[in-house]
Assembly symmetry: C2
Homo-oligomer: 157 residues x 2
Amino acid sequence: MSYYNFSEENSPVAEDEHYMRLALQEAQKAYDSEEIPIGAIVVCKGRIVGRGHNLTEQLNDVTAHAEMQAFTAASQTLGGKYLKDCTLYVTIEPCVMCAGASYWTQIGRLVYGATEPKRGFTSKNSQLLHPKTELVGGVLATECGALMTRFFANKRG
Amino acid sequence: MSYYNFSEENSPVAEDEHYMRLALQEAQKAYDSEEIPIGAIVVCKGRIVGRGHNLTEQLNDVTAHAEMQAFTAASQTLGGKYLKDCTLYVTIEPCVMCAGASYWTQIGRLVYGATEPKRGFTSKNSQLLHPKTELVGGVLATECGALMTRFFANKRG
């Protein structure tokens, strides 16, 4: 007789939180460079295949969002255009552009931290993702949102 | 007494068609490289500041659409992130990702050739553009669409 040994370490929630903490490390890199602090990683079968953080100021390019960097990096790492077996972890709900990019990648799962009521894609049309993409929101939402709040408070201060 | 000397050369329609022909030249480059033949240019005050054609196969990156290349190139040329005084000419109606990117650029005008009923952004939500972006569709639609039809006919053949 065997038992399923449930532990926090291997639960899906713990796994998502683990990877979201790595996305938060990416967001912190953006913060440290005075970029809007959003970070993303792409995970494929337990392996990190892409990372990215917001680089819009440094690259002088409004399309240089964390998710775009992470998607492009993942495609290069895997040598294939599609990310069907991958999960994107991103600290803030993606915008329309990044949701549209995720459609083309056919990413398997999209997990975000804090919601973005103003620019998040779900406020425009929650059907923008690929029909096979599973969407999960609210993972470490407080930590992810707090970094943004701190950034903008410092900017105003 | 003065008359407004209308001539085809300086009409807004003729100007749009002129630039759309240049976007079609970009699309032809994609066609010649066996990429889905979509081309784009960004024009600012009569000057071409960005060009791009679809490079998804060559770059192994599903986000490498013509519009994304053209936006990034235009920002580099102008040395500013925003494209408020610019017009994007693109041979095919943009997808959600590229419409979302255009939002961030705050582009002044977006002019496309043929409509894209399946993947075009207007089929999802025509409110994805920046509120200040003027949208014009159907410029040289027949020529723009014909290049796509020829490409996919050859692929199937």
